[in-house]
């Protein structure tokens, strides 16, 4: 259908920020000072600066389609020898306008949107003259698919963020990507680009990497990328250059290609199973299209892609992902709810870290690398101090060896980190954080000592995960200076920082904490001083439920795998083993002390700890995971066994109950902050929307609290 046929769809989006298709006729240089002919160059540009990426909405696609159809007519009249598409600086196109797509209420609108993209992009392959896309910058999803649908592609060495993130977003690369990419770069590479990368923290490709894979036919530097792309296009058109595509696969497939295709599909399936427990529908749908697409014609595949896109656009998982990705991670995380005026923040020019253990050393490394100010560690003896400083220096050596930091940066950072057995070194510090044993009396004593040395304005921060910050501040001379600063392990990797405001914490201290978090490149969420704050409280409630059903008599495999449909990054018992059973048990005890019996403390977990076990599961010689008989013999079980479905429902209800309580206690500003914490602090998946959209769509919130966390349509189908 002509692009004009989609006017009705386009009219649903009167507020779309349209990416225009500006057409300019270019006289292609023939390399000898003359012209090889007229080339129609289309620039995709929304008229805004680099802070507003160009995106694809229905109006944008109708305009592009209209311009392309006009070029097809010009080509037929012999007026042009080729057509090219490129973008405004730094962007080809950043992909479909997700905030528009998520407002599509009816399935038929989704079908129309999918169809529109296909019709417009297909024109690129049917112009009567060669088509080119010059990938000058970001090209994601539908943006990269424009390029895939053209006859030829160039890419800039300066282009970052190239990829097909649809499987991550909850869709499929359904504007031809799933059909065209495996044929262009081979099925194994295609699986990497459209399955493995999206599901690996939404990894993307650089320009050179895309060229290496065969996504682009030529690679040019940014300084004269468009000029060189045009010169290259001229040579392709005049047959002075023959394009080689060593990775490409052509129909009908050879036997070897066919086997490689099947192997790539199998690899993709295993990868998705491992990463997501198949909890989200999109990756599986993409793999199905890839698998069937082996035998499809292009037209057949495009038809199936349209159906898949329309189906997936109507899923709650897609809506929850858009909520989690756009509303939370890209927006709310950058503007923390409840943070005071940043202008109140005080400078931090020297940091003290009390303790020199592993957590303290990780903190020292992070502060020194990001704040670039002196950081001093203290501990009770020189051996511990030396070990802490040695850890930091060793990590810097590793970073340097990997080429992640320059020798100069390593030298600078090493020189910033020192240690002492005397807290006197904190005298001129602006910010002192403790990472000592998780025991209130120990922490209070530490802060009393520190307060005797530091200036009145020095901020004191605690990395406690479960103790009351209020109680810790109780005997301070200046309780307003204490703030909770709760990192997640591993400190260098996990993006979340829970900033805990005790009743007396003042705004300047809080503002400094948020400013410091930003410099540390962590996403801070403001939480009230309530035991275990957000992430550990929710995980604690989850552990309570799973350990309880296990102790009641549910077998280990059923109990531990019951949450697979949620697609959490790891099973509860695996996570407990990673955290360390004693630490986990300690947190559960604190939670029970704070909130009562709903935080079950497992007797069996204690038995495992007493027996020196590192975890419930052990790995057999053949690599399989099992709970050894001798371990089971240590444990006591009830006679009430639950099915996996029952365990899942109980856990959903428990989570809904706990989150409902947290919101009524005002632990955070809203369910959005709960979700943000679970995504960034526990790695919970976006298709759950963090957690509260999932509890809404499974009915748990309604069952337990009597109402949903979000109105329908915010993070779910309208």
């Amino acid at each position: 259908m002509s692009a004009h046929g989609f006017k009705a769809l386009a009219e649903l989006f009167p507020d779309e920020i349209v990416t225009h298709s500006y057409l300019e006729d270019v006289e292609l240089p023939d390399g000898r000072g003359g012209s090889a002919g007229t080339f129609a160059l289309i620039t995709l540009d929304n008229g805004l600066d680099h802070r507003r990426p160009t995106t694809l909405g229905p109006n944008t696609l109708v305009e592009l389609g209209t311009v392309l159809e006009a070029q097809r007519e010009r080509a037929a009249r012999g007026e042009i020898i080729g057509v090219g598409v490129t973008g405004k600086p730094h962007f080809l196109v950043a992909g479909a306008d997700l905030s528009a797509v998520k407002t599509l209420r009816e399935r038929k609108s989704g079908v129309a949107m999918a169809q529109l993209g296909h019709d417009v992009y297909s024109t690129l392959n049917d112009l009567g003259v060669p088509s080119f896309v010059f990938i000058n910058g970001v090209a994601l999803g539908g943006g990269l698919e424009i390029a895939l649908n053209a006859n030829y592609r160039t890419v800039s060495t300066g282009a970052g963020a190239l990829g097909l993130p649809e499987a991550f977003i909850g869709l499929v690369p359904g504007w031809g990507g799933v059909y065209l990419l495996p044929r262009l770069i081979g099925p194994a590479n295609a699986v990497k680009v459209m399955i493995e990368n999206p599901l690996s923290n939404n990894r993307t490709l650089s320009g050179p990497a895309a060229f290496q894979l065969g996504i682009a036919d030529a690679l040019f530097e940014p300084a004269d990328f468009v000029e060189q792309s045009l010169a290259w296009a001229a040579k392709v058109i005049t047959a002075d250059i023959t394009v080689e595509r060593p990775n490409s696969v052509t129909d009908p497939l050879s036997e070897a290609d066919s086997e490689a295709w099947d192997a790539a599909v199998a690899r993709a399936r295993a990868f998705v199973e491992e990463r997501t427990s198949n909890a989200a529908p999109a990756p599986a749908r993409a793999i199905a299209l890839l698998e069937q697409g082996k035998h499809y014609t292009k037209a057949k595949s495009f038809e199936q892609e349209n159906l898949a896109l329309a189906d997936l656009m109507q899923t709650d998982e897609f809506r929850a992902t858009v909520y989690a990705f756009l509303d939370l991670v890209q927006k709310r995380a950058k503007r923390p709810a409840g943070a005071p005026d940043p202008a109140l923040a005080r400078p931090v020019t020297k940091v003290g870290v009390v303790g020199a253990g592993l957590m303290a050393s990780q903190l020292a490394l992070l502060f020194a690398r990001q704040l670039k100010v002196p950081v001093v560690l203290t501990d009770i003896d020189q051996v511990r101090v030396d070990k802490g400083v040695g850890y930091v220096h060793g990590e810097l050596d590793k970073l340097q060896a990997k080429g992640r930091i320059s020798p100069d940066a390593a030298n600078r950072t090493k020189a910033l980190v020192s240690g002492s057995v005397s807290k006197d070194v904190f005298a001129d510090a602006d910010f002192v954080i403790e990472a000592v044993f998780e025991e209130l009396s120990v922490k209070k004593q530490v802060f009393a000592e520190v307060e005797a040395i530091v200036s009145d304005s020095c901020i004191l921060a605690t990395n406690t995960s479960s103790l009351s910050v209020t109680a810790m501040a109780a005997d301070l001379l200046h309780p307003e200076r204490l703030v909770g600063f709760h990192f997640f392990n591993p400190v260098a990797v996990m993006p979340l920082l829970e900033i805990v405001q005790a009743p007396e914490t003042d705004d300047a201290v809080l503002a400094t904490a948020f400013a410091t978090a930003k410099t540390l490149r962590k996403n801070a969420v403001l939480v009230k001083d309530a035991a275990a704050f957000v992430v550990n409280r929710i995980l604690g409630r989850l552990f309570a439920e799973i350990t309880l059903v296990f102790d009641e008599g549910t077998d280990a495999a059923t109990a531990d795998n019951a949450l697979r449909p949620m697609g959490l990054p790891m099973t509860p018992f695996t996570l407990l083993a990673m955290v360390g059973l004693p630490v986990g048990q300690h947190v559960q005890e604190s939670l029970r002390a704070a909130f009562g019996e709903r935080f079950y403390v497992s007797a069996n977990q204690q038995k495992l700890i007493d027996a020196g076990k590192k975890g419930l599961w052990e790995t057999a010689d053949d690599g399989s995971r099992l709970v050894p008989e001798e371990t089971l013999a240590l444990l006591d079980f009830g006679d009430r066994s639950s099915t996996a479905e029952q365990v899942l429902a109980r856990t959903q209800d428990a989570l809904a109950d706990e989150i409902g309580r947290m919101l009524s206690e005002g632990v955070v500003a809203g369910p959005e902050d709960i979700d943000l914490c679970m995504i960034m602090g526990a790695g919970w998946p976006m298709h759950l929307g963090g957690i509260t959209p999932y509890l809404d769509r499974t009915g748990a919130s309604q069952r337990v609290t009597g109402s949903r966390f979000h109105p329908a349509g915010i993070a779910s189908r309208p």
């Binding site: 000898r32 000072g33 160059l41 300084a223 004269d224």
Partner: protein, 421 residues
């Protein structure tokens, strides 16, 4: 100090330029940075001369008359870095107003001759839209109070009117006729594809437009007649003689060239388009700066032991028609002499101040290649505040038939001395 030091031959390897644009909001480069124009030239030179390893470039000299904003921060160094040359390649900025690029060439050529460099890049840029002539300058009040220069000397149009006063034989009609011929000669050169091969295409983008590819100069007005020119007003003086039609416009553009020692050119397999014979700069009264090329040329000829009649091709910058005509009159050359500005000149193609010197050299080099009967050529230009510059070049394609007029037989370039007894 070394006793064995020898002056080395300097050769012009290659030169390119951007298409020139009209300065101002409507010009093609209104939204394009000056330094980016230089970068396009340097990168094109590197592509055109693939046997030249980037790390063999010993310096990058880029001229700009106004050295602030996108022409600031030591533009030779910034352009080198932005072009992707190795960080080990240094660069510097240079200024001699209109003769900036010419001075970049002569200064680095001197370095080559002295042995400090093997290979250099020299060029210039002026974005007169971003940097109107004289913008940001703060002339010392002593120029006025002590009458060091006539106030008119600070306005180039006035100096051109002054030159008409000094040489009453140069009428407005002659100036207009010369200007119309310049447009016609450029149009003919374009038609024969003599200009385009040394242009580097540049894409530009403005709000509400897509990328455009600029492959030709914007200023030329082919088809301009003397009658057209006669109607133009004379902005510098009522009933004056200087008009927008018989002067170069206000323009944006950049140029760059590769120079090398003869030995390095041979070692690296570089083309030799011209060989440097001599150069000179000279000062004149600032209020008649257009006469500057005359003493500069006489000086350069003397150093080369050449006579004006030995010069087979002239590339004279056309800041004003009167300035070229005063030069031709001085040396007894006809206004329409076939040896002068064969491809037209700045009146047609434009004059982005500090960039123009290399444009003259590019064109002379191409004429040398096309005309092996010519042995010597000259590039010359007038310079604001009363100066002139002249560079004499020898044609490596010269076919050995000395067709110079009688009387020039004694003329032997200084650099040939070592070959003689």
């Amino acid at each position: 100090m070394s006793q064995n030091r020898q002056v080395r031959d300097v050769v012009f390897v290659d030169g390119v330029r951007t298409p020139f644009g009209k300065a101002g909001e409507k010009g093609i480069y209104a939204e394009t940075r000056a330094d980016d124009l230089v970068v396009k030239c340097i990168r094109e030179l590197m592509r055109r001369n693939p046997s030249l390893p980037a790390d063999r470039i010993d310096d990058v000299a880029i001229a700009a008359t106004t050295q602030t904003g996108d022409q600031g921060l030591t533009i030779g160094r910034t352009a080198a870095l932005l072009s992707g040359l190795p960080k080990s390649v240094p660069g510097f900025a240079i200024d001699r107003m209109c003769a900036g690029a010419m001075t970049a060439v002569t200064t680095t050529a001197s370095g080559i001759g002295f042995g400090a460099y093997d290979v250099v890049i020299a060029g210039g840029v002026e974005h007169m839209g971003h940097h109107p002539m004289g913008s940001g300058a703060d002339p010392n009040p002593r120029f006025m109070s002590e009458r060091l220069v006539d106030p008119a000397a600070l306005n180039m149009g006035n100096t051109a009117e002054n030159l008409h006063d000094r040489f009453p034989a140069i009428s407005k009609d002659r100036a207009d006729a010369y200007a119309a011929a310049s447009q016609a000669k450029l149009a003919a050169a374009y038609a024969e594809n003599l200009i385009q091969p040394d242009l580097v295409p540049v894409v530009t983008r403005k709000p509400g437009q897509g990328w455009r590819l600029n492959t030709v100069d914007e200023p030329p007005r082919p088809g301009t007649t003397v009658a057209d020119l006669a109607t133009l007003r004379t902005p510098f003086r009522a009933h004056g003689r200087v008009t927008a039609g018989n002067a170069a416009g206000l323009n944006d553009g950049a140029t760059a060239a590769v120079l090398a020692s003869a030995e390095a050119a041979e070692e690296l397999g570089l083309t030799v388009k011209m060989r440097l014979v001599s150069y000179a700069f000279a000062g004149v009264e600032p209020e008649v700066m257009g006469i500057g090329p005359v003493p500069a040329t006489e000086k350069a000829l003397k150093m080369a032991r050449l006579d004006i009649t030995d010069i087979g091709l002239f590339e004279i910058n056309e800041a004003f028609a009167v300035q070229v005509l005063s030069f031709l009159d001085h040396f007894g050359i006809a206004d329409d002499d076939d040896r002068v500005n064969r491809y037209g000149g700045a009146i047609a193609v434009g004059h982005p101040l500090a960039s123009s010197g290399v444009r003259l050299m590019n064109q002379l080099a191409r004429q040398f290649q096309d005309d092996p009967s010519v042995r010597f050529g000259i590039t010359a230009m007038c310079i604001g505040l009363g100066m002139g510059g002249a560079v004499i070049w020898e044609n490596p394609h010269w076919n050995g038939v000395d067709n110079a007029p009688a009387g020039s037989g004694t003329g032997t370039p200084a650099s040939d001395e070592e070959n003689e007894e």
